[in-house]
């Protein structure tokens, strides 16, 4: 494997200092489940890695001010186990089919986001849940919608001197009299039953108002250079009665909004078709959850 120096800061300040001092060949290291594979394959060639494992500020999941703050180092396994994630069904479903249990014990939420693979399993549910991402550097902290974070395959809005510090999700309660019930669902279509890379993935989030879909977000994975929202497909449903016709039309529109490629796993045409099938199925599933 490539030679590099490994820094093991104990505080966020030290980590950010290290990133600020160094040039572009420094990279943060989370769970390592992507980074070590990339290092072996020479897809990345850093001179220095900053291991975030020992930085306590990046750990922990807390609920405050109506939001869930998910520390960057939160592992995928923790998303499955921690009851605080219970309201976020799509995120749980994605975590449950994320790679395999061993990888889940190491891989972190920020690592999956930072890798910015178009097929990253956690990304569509986070988009559908309208997650905010917090980026920190020595000089500033900025928060942006996750939808603005992904720029292209493995390209993000994060600068080399920045770290993902947390993800924030809006928590609402189905018991609350002031908010409408909400539901979400996720599916990954792969070529086997476990530990598969997605051919397509679909996450949806619904807010219900009687027989109407008050609000909806649809996010797609592996069918564009970056994980994407199918906003035109959402428009078909938003504020409308939940109906078979609307559902089918929305699914059809979603399949035209994406821009998949053909590769060794499937053709672009097949992927488009599967987007239509699974957008419809996931909306049905989320609706049935109410």
């Amino acid at each position: 494997m490539r030679e590099f120096d490994l820094l093991q800061p104990k505080t966020l300040n030290d980590a950010l200092e290290a990133l600020a001092q160094n040039n572009a060949t420094i990279r943060p290291l989370g769970g390592g489940t992507d980074m070590l594979v990339d290092l072996r394959a020479r897809r990345v060639q850093p001179d220095t890695l900053v291991a975030l494992q020992g930085v306590n500020e990046l750990r922990g999941v807390t609920r405050a001010n109506g939001h869930l703050h998910v520390g960057a180092s939160t592992t995928i396994a923790e998303i499955l186990k921690n009851p605080l994630f219970a309201p976020f069904n799509a995120l749980r479903q994605a975590a449950s089919v994320f790679a395999n249990p061993m990888i889940r014990n190491s891989a972190t939420i920020a690592g999956n986001i930072g890798s910015a693979s178009p097929a990253g399993d956690m990304l569509p549910p986070l988009l559908a849940l309208n997650a905010q991402i917090e980026l920190v550097s020595r000089n500033e902290t900025r928060v942006m919608p996750l939808s603005e974070f992904f720029l292209g395959p493995r390209k993000t809005a994060k600068r080399a001197d920045e770290l993902i510090s947390s993800i924030q999700l809006l928590v609402t309660s189905n018991q609350s009299p002031v908010s409408n019930p909400q539901s979400s669902a996720f599916y990954k279509l792969g070529l086997r039953q476990a530990d598969a890379i997605s051919l397509v993935s679909v996450a949806v989030w619904l807010e219900r108002d009687g027989e109407k879909i008050r609000d909806v977000r649809i996010a797609l994975g592996a069918v564009a250079p970056r994980p994407m929202r199918a906003t035109r497909a959402e428009e078909i449903l938003r504020g409308q009665i939940f109906s078979e016709t609307n559902l089918k039309e929305s699914a059809r529109i979603a399949s035209t909004e994406c821009s998949p490629i053909s590769d060794l796993r499937a053709s672009a045409d097949y992927r488009r078709r599967m987007i239509a099938v699974y957008v419809r199925r996931m909306i049905e599933q989320a609706w049935q959850h109410f």
């Binding site: 030679e3 279509l189 530990d195």
Partner: protein, 772 residues
């Protein structure tokens, strides 16, 4: 779960350990991590080797400059073709293909002027550390000039196609003629003609290829290697120009073989490096290297043209087979023979013509893989049986039933089936084990069922004149020592020998130790290939143990004053069958024999049936000692909107003759079926224009624990096998029928057929579309 049935056990002797699912003697080492595999051995002063591999599928090599690599501190040797003039890997079986070996058959150890597939070896680096060896590879400069290439057998057979290996691209052909198929087709009520395709697949043993080589103080090159064939010491000696008695292969327990460790892997690279550096040299393939550069299963295109009567009786078959041999020949001629000879399956067909070709291309070379051509043939003939039934509007099981071969019927080569041929019995039981068809779980789900019967030989080609040897001895404390050159690749090869000797000599299994897999120190037992070790080395061990038993029984009969036939052995004691009070510890008898100089050990050689080569005009003649028969039934659920397939249930029924260890037999059947499931649904080494698109386990998909269905394994015991206690081989047969059974089940569910493996969701959906 194993169902266990013994319908024909009356002719078998009383057995105390054979037939019991005893824990294997190699198991404890494996579950505690104590077992040392090839990559686990280190030696003082050891170097690490790495191989530079070609980055083009077809190119002339203009220049290989290793000077910078040699200059890197820590690099001890960099070897290229110039360091080993003339050295070649023999890829034909020496001395058995007879007449003249085809030109261009051998593969270079390191390419000199030309590379023929992407991944071909160009140079070997040996360095003090693995990281240094890897860095040195980057420093080797190679200039290529692209050379015309061909990537499909169909193109490679065209006149004017680029020649991959001289003199032409057709590296092997077989033409089998039995009866007059042309004439018989004219009498048929219906003719069904279909084409089926299979893909490249990878053995994907969990243990990558590995070995360590050193030259001892006597100049003997010793190679400790993960291999199915310790007899490679002979071809290694030839390639490295050493006397055969100066190459010593010490095998290890092998972390999975499946045919992929049948050809030479690291041996010549580390052997050469050790000879040059006079230091121990270790090499372990990366997973990517294993997938990219070692042999694959042959893809086949198989066309059946079959004439049948309205009642489903097959009158004649014409079968064409084309196999992709990749860039070198290796075992292609034999893989092709297995496929050609089993082209019409276990059915009685009086008029058969088979034309089979193995064709060189600039793809990764192909060679042995569990099922060895016969598995590919089964993918075609069993799907074809269902398509015949469909054409005739008959139940596929009925069409099989009227055509199943019986004992005395012959293969396309004219070889008669012997012993029990329980095709119908196996098919019925496998089918019944599926139980009731459940209702679909959703409106978009269709449930389908499929069946496949098969025949698969066990034992090597009989004109190879196969033999095996084993040495069995009793120690003074009553423990048993077996010495046998058998490589254990995980199928329980060693345990089988232990269990046989334990049975014959009445000693508990755990008191048997097997010394195995050493070309210099254990009697040569032949390859762990061709489903032959239980049959060959099992019989050799049985013979040797029986010889020891005979000596001991005679001495005991003197002591007890009875006939030797009255003596029996059990629980480390010897006794008179009719009078249990007449008994002594086995150790006492051993001591008596030792005091009198009577032998307590025996070296025995077992010979398979020997035959002459096939008639060159029509390929008539015997090819194998015997066949295993069985059937696989599966139930699948297909999503009609997405093409996703889930196998819900799998039921296998095989007549194994005699299950020496039912747990081990069931393990073979379940593991083989799971490989067949991968073959059917997800495994695919995609080589496009010579480039492997699936270089790791992220792209090359194996079935996981979640992919295997509810599984039923039914073991039948006809007792008519040629192995010890009437056993038949089950290693390869276990895999063979699974893929076509799944293909038939999917076709049954969707009313259309995907003629190309694997059945990806996309292909299945396309077939569903076509049926609409």
């Amino acid at each position: 779960m194993i169902q266990f049935d013994q319908p024909n056990i009356a002719n078998l002797p009383e057995l105390r350990q054979i037939g019991k699912p005893l824990p294997r003697i190699d198991a404890m080492g494996k579950v505690t991590g104590a077992t040392q595999y090839a990559a686990d051995y280190t030696m003082p002063n050891m170097l690490h080797a790495q191989v530079l591999r070609a980055k083009h599928a077809s190119a002339q090599i203009l220049r290989v400059d290793v000077s910078k690599a040699r200059a890197l501190p820590g690099v001890v040797a960099v070897l290229t073709a110039d360091d080993l003039p003339g050295a070649q890997v023999a890829t034909d079986i020496p001395g058995v293909t007879g007449t003249s070996k085809r030109a261009g058959t051998d593969a270079p150890i390191l390419a000199r002027d030309r590379v023929r597939f992407m991944g071909e070896a160009l140079a070997i680096v040996a360095a003090e550390e693995l990281a240094i060896a890897e860095r040195a590879l980057d420093l080797i400069e190679v200039d290529y000039e692209p050379y015309p290439a061909v990537f499909t057998p169909e193109e490679a057979m065209q006149p004017g196609a680029p020649i991959v290996t001289e003199p032409d691209n057709i590296v092997a052909r077989w033409r089998i003629v039995k009866g007059d198929a042309d004439a018989a087709l004219r009498d048929a009520d219906v003719i069904v003609e279909r084409t089926y395709k299979t893909q490249f697949i990878d053995h994907a043993y969990l243990e990558p290829e590995a070995g360590i080589a050193w030259v001892d103080e006597n100049g003997t090159l010793t190679i400790r290697v993960s291999t199915q064939v310790v007899e490679h010491f002979r071809s290694i000696a030839a390639a490295l120009q050493l006397p055969q008695n100066k190459v010593h292969i010490m095998g290890t327990l092998v972390g999975g073989g499946f045919g992929g460790k049948e050809d030479i892997t690291v041996e010549l690279f580390i052997g050469l490096a050790a000879l040059k550096t006079r230091r121990p040299v270790k090499m372990v393939y990366s997973r990517e290297e294993s997938i990219l550069a070692h042999c694959k299963r042959h893809p086949f295109t198989i066309t059946h043209k079959t004439g049948v009567t309205h009642s489903g009786r097959i009158l004649a078959s014409q079968v064409n087979l084309i196999a992709d041999s990749g860039a070198y020949v290796y075992l292609s001629p034999y893989v092709l023979l297995y496929a050609a000879s089993s082209a019409v399956g276990p059915y009685k067909v009086n008029h058969v013509t088979v034309n089979a070709y193995a064709v060189a291309t600039n793809n990764t070379f192909t060679s042995a893989f569990r099922g060895f051509g016969a598995a590919q043939a089964c993918v075609a003939y069993e799907q074809h049986m269902d398509e015949i039934a469909q054409a005739l509007h008959l139940d596929p099981r009925q069409v099989r039933r009227v055509n199943y071969a019986q004992a005395g019927d012959t293969t396309p080569n004219g070889q008669a089936f012997r012993g029990a041929v329980w095709l119908e019995e196996c098919a019925q039981r496998a089918w019944d084990a599926l139980g009731e068809t459940p209702p679909p779980s959703a409106p978009n789900i269709k449930i389908g069922r499929g069946l496949a019967s098969y025949m698969q030989s066990y034992g090597r080609i009989t004109w190879f004149h196969d033999t095996s040897q084993a040495w069995v001895g009793l120690e003074m404390d009553g423990s048993i020592v077996i010495r046998c050159g058998v490589p254990d690749i995980g199928g329980g090869q060693i345990n089988t020998l232990a269990q046989i000797s334990a049975e014959v000599l009445g000693v508990p299994l755990e008191r048997v130790t097997v010394y195995s897999t050493d070309s210099a120190l254990t009697p040569l037992a032949g390859t762990t290939t061709a489903t032959r070790q239980m049959y060959m080395s099992g019989n050799a061990t049985y013979q040797a143990a029986m010889a020891v038993r005979k000596t001991l029984a005679e001495r005991a009969s003197q002591h007890f004053e009875c006939e030797p036939a009255e003596i029996d052995f059990a629980d480390s004691a010897v006794f008179v069958k009719s009078d249990a009070s007449q008994k002594m510890p086995l150790t006492q008898l051993i001591a008596m024999c030792a005091a009198e100089g009577l032998p307590r050990a025996n070296l025995s050689l077992f010979k398979a049936p020997f035959t002459e080569k096939l008639d060159p005009d029509n390929a008539q003649g015997d090819i194998w000692p015997d066949y295993t028969f069985g059937a696989q039934a599966v139930q699948v659920a297909v999503d009609l909107e997405t093409g996703e397939v889930r196998v819900l249930k799998s039921a296998a029924c095989h007549d194994v003759g005699r299950a020496l260890n039912p747990a081990a037999v069931a393990g073979q059947i379940e593991g083989g079926a799971t490989q067949g499931l991968g073959y059917a649904l997800m495994e695919d080494v995609q080589i496009v224009n010579g480039v492997t698109l699936t270089p790791s386990f992220a792209e090359y998909l194996l079935p996981t624990a979640r992919d295997v269905p509810e599984t039923k394994t039914i073991i039948l015991e006809s007792g008519t096998g040629l192995g010890p206690f009437g056993a038949k081989g089950i290693g390869e047969p276990a895999l063979t029928p699974m893929a076509p059974a799944i293909a038939n089940a999917v076709a049954n569910a969707i009313g259309a057929r995907v003629p190309q493996l694997p059945l990806t969701p996309e292909r299945v959906l396309a077939a569903i579309d076509s049926a609409r």
